[in-house]
């Protein structure tokens, strides 16, 4: 009786997650592994190997990897600088990175068009400074920029949290035992923030890999990513079977990422929140 009462509060969530998380995922697999007549087939998955699809997938992987690396390289020093500031500023820092989300994500990304255009703000400034113009609008570079812009906070926050958690005396202990600043960083600080880094990579890589909006808005219609292919199969071609099949391929990458993060972050310490 007691046991039952303890579990009772979980019931709504239990039903909710079965109905809206697990069953829908099963349906993606069902559609992905059948054809229009309902017969089992691997064709929708093998379809990733066609020239058009594999090109989109490779480009997506390349761009999202580049964006993830750039985010990591930008975020780590930033998080360290923010962390070295004294006082309980945690909420302020979270606030600064969450605030942009209150301006619509599509509008913010579109604003980059205005900034990047041939006669846009950035080029006006560059020509004023007599610097060569930046012509990256409607190119893969612009897409990478859009990815970095949109997902940077998801890299900064987990790394910042991981850094903030490190006891100052642990760093002092390393110095005390003879480590110079570089040794302190590589032997103590960096290993202790691995959960944050892994969590950050997940939070940037997955949405970047699967985006179709950023490529639509900043890549013109010239650049096709795997996300665009899937989206078109669902909204324009209405070929749910093929769209689902390609989604399963995407989920393989997501699963791979989850396994990697589970290995590095056993206690689920790295978190944005």
């Amino acid at each position: 009786m007691n046991n039952f009462r303890k579990k009772l509060p979980g019931t709504p969530y239990f039903f909710w997650s079965v109905l809206f998380i697990i069953i829908p995922l099963c349906m993606v697999f069902y559609y992905g592994l059948t054809d229009k007549s309902g017969a089992f087939t691997l064709e929708n998955i093998i379809a990733i190997a066609t020239r058009e699809h594999s090109k989109a997938l490779w480009l997506s992987l390349l761009l999202s990897l580049i964006a993830t690396v750039i985010c990591l390289l930008l975020s780590y020093p930033l998080a360290m600088i923010l962390c070295s500031r004294k006082g309980g500023q945690h909420s302020v820092i979270v606030f600064i990175f969450i605030l942009p989300m209150w301006m619509n994500f599509l509008l913010r990304t579109l604003a980059w068009q205005t900034l990047l255009e041939k006669t846009g703000v950035i080029n006006s400034i560059l020509s004023f400074l007599h610097l060569p113009a930046l012509n990256i609008i409607n190119t893969p570079q612009a897409i990478v920029l859009g990815m970095v812009y949109n997902f940077l906070p998801f890299m900064v926050l987990p790394i910042y949290n991981a850094l903030a958690k490190i006891d100052e005396n642990v760093i002092n202990a390393a110095r005390d035992l003879g480590a110079n600043p570089a040794q302190v960083f590589f032997k103590v600080t960096l290993p202790l923030t691995v959960p944050g880094i892994i969590s950050g990579i997940t939070m940037v890589f997955i949405p970047a890999l699967t985006t179709f909006v950023i490529s639509n808005l900043l890549g013109g219609s010239k650049v096709l990513l795997i996300g665009n292919v899937v989206e078109q199969e669902f909204t324009q071609a209405s070929n749910w079977h093929l769209g689902s099949g390609l989604s399963i391929v995407l989920m393989l990458f997501i699963l791979l990422n989850m396994i990697v993060s589970a290995i590095f972050d056993k206690d689920g310490e790295g978190s944005v929140l």
Binding site: D167, N172, A173, R175, V188, L192
Partner: protein, 358 residues
């Protein structure tokens, strides 16, 4: 006497305009077990951090082995620290924790392995090398923190309230362990604590600090038996600190009763503070005492009874005695002359002994 190993000269340090240490002068001899004792905020930890190299003093010099190391970073100093709450590297095994300093000094593998085995044996944790710090109890983690520091063969070990997070029994065990370690290693220990009992048990020398000033330096016996001012008397053990008048040499008046004592040189009819330890108060029948009072509280403490005796003028005496007097009993109070410690009254308001905040 051993030679001076460390000399702190005119150390001044303030944070955000608040003075933490004001012209502190202190030397530490080789092989000494020196304890910095005081309430929180007295500057003891800052002193230790200046020694470790984690803070730079605003003014003054730190001389170590005749060398000025004031501006030397921590990684270049021949001292090691055992931190409050251990500060172990949670991403490394115990063995890797202990090997940390040695690997940085590029010691050979066999040397490192020998040292790990030696250190684990020294702290009675043989066979724990491959465990992770999280799987150890607080006391065990503390020993690893000590082992991690001493394998580097420092000339001085700095200990920052290392037993603060442990429970009473464990703390007592670790006190003996630390004394044993110090004797085996033959190095200097500088120990920071706010626990006066810990300080009395382990130290060769105690430095009592308050509000950035050194109040008294001396052996545990000296600090306990002959506190130099009311702060030290109050901080070290329980005491009755009573305002009195020095009538003449070797005679003091307390609460309008005259007590013979052994102190001289205070002048005649001068106001003084009188310190009497609770275990030095002798209770007897009212007729045999110099003062009479009523027992107002009684607690059994195991080794002795703790009583509160209120004299007619309202002063509450703290008394430790093996004899038991029930609440309400009229008793006489007496004190042996050599157990009465006379102290100068603070000359100004400014010098007034400060309240202890813990």
């Amino acid at each position: 006497m051993n030679k001076k190993l460390i000399d702190l000269q005119h150390i001044t340090k303030s944070f955000d305009g608040q003075m933490i240490l004001d012209d502190l002068n202190l030397y530490i001899r080789e092989n000494e077990f020196l304890t910095l004792l005081g309430p929180s905020g007295c500057g003891k930890t800052t002193t230790l951090r200046i020694l470790g190299g984690f803070e730079t003093p605003d003014q003054g010099h730190v001389i170590f082995d005749d060398q000025d190391i004031t501006k030397l970073p921590p990684n270049k100093r021949q001292l090691n620290t055992v931190f409050q709450k251990y500060a172990l590297f949670t991403h490394m095994t115990i063995a890797e924790n202990i090997a940390f300093g040695l690997k940085i000094k590029n010691k050979s593998k066999s040397y490192i392995n020998d040292k790990i085995a030696y250190a684990l044996k020294l702290v009675n944790l043989e066979g724990y090398g491959s465990r992770m710090p999280d799987s150890l109890s607080g006391g065990q983690q503390q020993r690893i923190a000590i082992a991690r520091a001493i394998v580097n063969e420092p000339k001085v070990l700095l200990l920052d309230e290392p037993l603060g997070a442990l429970d009473l029994k464990l703390r007592q065990d670790m006190q003996y362990e630390l004394i044993r370690l110090k004797n085996e290693l033959g190095i200097t220990f500088i120990y920071v604590t706010h626990d006066q009992e810990e300080a009395l048990t382990m130290s060769d020398t105690i430095v009592v600090m308050n509000q950035g000033y050194i109040q008294q330096i001396g052996s545990p016996e000296k600090i306990y038996n002959e506190p130099e001012n009311a702060f030290v008397a109050d901080f070290i053990g329980d005491s009755n600190i009573i305002g009195g008048t020095m009538i003449e040499d070797k005679l003091v008046e307390i609460l309008s009763a005259r007590f013979p004592c052994v102190d001289t040189g205070f002048g005649t009819n001068r106001p003084v503070d009188v310190v009497i330890r609770p275990e030095d108060v002798i209770l007897s029948s009212p007729a045999n005492g110099r003062l009479t009072g009523t027992v107002t509280h009684l607690i059994f403490k195991g080794v002795h009874y703790e009583m509160e005796v209120t004299t007619p003028d309202g002063y509450e005496w703290l008394v430790h005695s093996t004899g038991m007097y029930p609440v309400g009993t009229q008793v006489g109070i007496d004190v042996d002359p050599f157990n009465i410690q006379i102290m100068h009254k603070p000359a100004s308001e400014d010098e007034e002994a400060v309240k202890i905040d813990e």
